[in-house]
């Protein structure tokens, strides 16, 4: 037997390939997969939400479900008086909104903050901030905002956002893994931030349409429909608090001019706000 001393060539047992190549391909592929899955899950959740009965939603997000709300409620005597007044308007608006929505129930909460905002929380909750009352001049203006939030509920927008957030965070937790405490934090944090209502522009303008129609149905005219938005527009440059509202509600000029148009075509006499509202906003 003969032995010839030669070295075997390189590159047989080791791939001759730049290490960054597979890194780029694999990372991009994994990220793409995760994004596609999240989008698909989000769409699926969005589609399935309308099959969840309203009663079940209310049971899930009853009073205890209000942990989703980022503010404390105003439980002072004045706060409760205002709450009853707003609740009464909501109930009256609801009674004329149509039979197909008869299974909806609404629960008004007054948030004790000077921020100017109103939002719909799953389970039929409508949260109105204390600061909001300084932005409106008439009951019609208030009704417009309430009808707008009710329209979100009728179209199940809050539940859709929550459902989407829940499914997506569950998916992320499944692949990333988490222990008990951070699971809860992740769930609440994610759900809450999404419930803080990143509704789409389309959802907003649909709700505007519905709300102005409901206003005409209830008052016989649409005066006051653009009141709140005009206030937002006028204050935009003055107060720093407003953009937080604008970021979730894209108040485009189109949206305001549409409402002004509706208001013009359906003019009428506005109903003033009760006196205790003026007293209520005095201590802001």
């Amino acid at each position: 037997m003969k032995y010839t001393p030669v070295q075997p060539p390189e590159g047989i047992n080791v791939a001759v390939e730049h290490p960054l190549k597979s890194f780029v391909i694999l990372t991009a592929g994994t990220i793409a997969l995760i994004v596609i899955t999240i989008l698909a899950l989000g769409l699926a959740a969005d589609y399935l939400v309308k099959y969840i009965p309203v009663e079940y939603e209310q049971e899930l997000f009853s009073k205890d479900g209000m942990y989703l709300m980022p503010f404390a409620t105003d439980d002072s005597a004045e706060g409760i008086q205002v709450k009853e007044y707003v609740q009464n308007i909501v109930d009256q608006l609801h009674s004329v909104s149509g039979d197909e929505f008869s299974d909806h129930r609404f629960q008004v909460e007054i948030a004790n903050t000077n921020e100017v905002n109103a939002f719909a929380v799953p389970g039929g909750h409508i949260v109105v901030t204390k600061g909001l009352f300084s932005s409106i001049e008439s009951e019609n203006g208030l009704s417009m905002i309430l009808a707008h939030e009710m329209a979100h509920h009728y179209e199940r927008h809050p539940l859709r956002s929550t459902g989407r957030g829940l499914v997506v965070s569950l998916f992320l937790l499944t692949i990333l893994g988490a222990d008990g405490s951070s699971f809860l934090q992740g769930f609440i944090g994610n759900t809450a931030s999404i419930t803080n209502l990143a509704f789409s522009r389309q959802q907003e303008s649909d709700s505007d349409d519905f709300a102005s129609k409901l206003l005409i149905k209830f008052y016989g005219h649409a005066s006051g429909a653009a009141e709140f938005f005009e206030y937002i527009q006028s204050e935009e440059s003055v107060i720093g608090d407003i953009p937080s509202f604008l970021s979730t509600h894209p108040a485009t000029d189109d949206r305001i001019s549409n409402l002004i148009e509706v208001e013009k075509n359906n003019a009428g006499v506005k109903k003033p706000l009760p006196v205790f509202i003026n007293d209520y906003i005095l201590n802001i």
Partner: protein, 155 residues
């Protein structure tokens, strides 16, 4: 923040890992060339040499090499999709050749002209580590029987 840490770890792993690997391969190739005169074979029977007594001795070489963070990351992604894990291939190749070289160094100390019945074994260290992101290491042991010429036999 977590992403920033990940990026820094990946960059560090890539830079130092690649540098160490290049350096190691260079040294392996040079030393292999130098030790070509002493072959390592898997045959069990010694060559038929009649004019000398043959001395035999167990020689071993072992090495532990750790994978770097960058390779570990890419390899774990690769394990989702399947295919050649080239990141581990170079690691194991380095370890195997280094172990054989160390074994041959020991054989050279015994003036061996051949290492018979050479075996290479691989085992994974820190495999059972509970931390998912711990960097794994491999140990490779090479062992064989070094044959050297002894007393001359007069015919």
């Amino acid at each position: 923040m977590e992403i920033l840490i990940l990026v820094i770890l990946l960059a560090l792993g890539y830079f130092f890992g690649q540098r160490a690997e290049k350096k190691h391969f260079k040294s392996i190739i040079a030393r292999e060339k130098a030790s070509l005169t002493c072959p390592t074979v898997t045959m069990k029977t010694p060559p038929p040499i009649h004019n000398h007594e043959l001395n035999s001795k167990l020689v071993t070489g072992s090495v532990v090499i750790s994978i770097d963070y960058f390779k570990k990351f890419v390899a774990s992604l690769k394990m989702l999709f399947g295919g050649r894990v080239t990141q581990y291939e170079s690691l194991l190749d380095r370890a195997r050749r280094e172990a054989l070289l160390r074994m041959k160094e020991q054989a050279a100390l015994n003036n061996a002209f051949v290492v018979m019945n050479t075996r290479v074994e691989t085992s994974s260290i820190s495999k059972n580590s509970k931390r998912r992101n711990s960097v794994g290491a491999v140990e490779v042991v090479a062992y064989g029987t070094a044959i050297s010429l002894g007393k001359k036999i007069d015919a």
